[in-house]
Each structure stands twice: as structure tokens, then as C-alpha cells.
Symmetry: C2
Subunit: 105 residues, 2 copies
């Protein structure tokens, strides 16, 4: 009984917040995504998406690339190697918590 709550508290807070978990899940499933694709898929406001991306960028988990495509500015996001590693560790721990807390266990 005493192991679960401590492992819950060990979950990476940067990733655990729901908006950022959605962003990290999306980026883990692809190579890169543009700001517009991300915002429309998650249905998040520009301001919220910008704030969450900044937090993930400052943690070293997400890289932000600004370029031009067809003469228009394009911002794309991708997981960094550190981001991939942190997300993998987060999901592994989440899986343990799920297994420990499943009814009948």
C-alpha cells in the first residue's frame, strides 16, 4: 500500500499537467507538428498553447523551430531526446500506477 502514493508523487509535474500531457502525447506520436495543427487538434487557445510550450521548452523537452513556408512564417514543435526520455519514464510510471490501482489487484 505504501508504494503507490510515493510513485504517484514521483510523476514528472512538467508532463503531468493535462494540457502538457496532451501536447507531449501528440508529439510522441509524430516527428513534428506546426502550431496550427497542434492548436486545432487539442482545441486549446493560442495563449494556453504558447504558455505550455514555453514550460516544456524551458524543461528541455520540446524544441521550437521558426521558419518560412510559401513565404509565411511557420512554427513547428518536436520532442527533444530529453523530452522523449522523460515522456517514456512518465508513461512507464503511469503504467505501474495503473497496474497497482486496478480493482481486483
Amino acid at each position: 500500500m505504501s508504494r503507490e502514493p510515493r510513485s504517484v508523487l514521483a510523476l514528472d509535474s512538467v508532463i503531468h499537467e493535462k494540457g502538457r500531457l496532451a501536447i507531449m502525447s501528440l508529439l510522441a506520436a509524430t516527428t513534428e507538428l506546426s502550431f496550427t495543427e497542434m492548436r486545432d487538434t487539442i482545441a486549446m487557445t493560442d495563449g494556453n498553447l504558447t504558455a505550455h510550450i514555453r514550460t516544456l521548452q524551458e524543461a528541455g523537452y520540446v524544441s521550437v523551430t521558426k521558419s518560412f513556408r510559401a513565404g509565411r512564417p511557420l512554427t513547428t514543435f518536436a520532442l527533444t531526446p530529453a523530452g522523449k526520455q522523460a515522456f517514456g519514464a512518465y508513461i512507464d510510471l503511469l503504467e505501474q500506477i495503473v497496474q497497482q490501482t486496478k480493482p481486483g489487484k
Copy 2:
């Protein structure tokens, strides 16, 4: 790709916060716990534990019972039927998210 982030955002925010997730996990594994047992197991301050319990109580997920044992006041917490149901749904959704985001899937 588009299913995961939406299911992430559907996670119950009352339960998703790490401190409350720890409390709910503990209570799901037992019938009831005293304030002291809970606080010492999770290593949380009295103030934080009180605040989280109040949020869970207001959501209808946790019941708080005050009694006396050996002449001393005793506060115990337990999951309500609604709390058990909400926690089960939360863990089921978490399990889906883990399965969808596991590397190699």
C-alpha cells in the same frame, strides 16, 4: 493520433492533480484511513492534506468521519460509491492513454 489528446483532456481534473491522485490511490486500496496514517504515508503537510481532502469531499468522492477513539478525536477518510466509480473511470482512461502512447504502438 487525434484520439489521444482529447482523451487526455477528458481526465477528471479533481483526481488528476498529483496529491489528490495519491490520496485516491491510497483510499482505493483500503476501506478507510485516519488523517495521521494518510499524512504520514503520503508525506504531505497537514494544510495540503486538508485542502485536497476538502476538494475531494466537495466533489462527492471522499467521506470524512469524525469520532473518538480512546477519548481522543479521530478523523477518518473513505471513498464514497461515487468516488470509487470516478476513480475506476479515471484509471481506465489512464490505461487507454498508456496503451496508446507506449513506444512501438
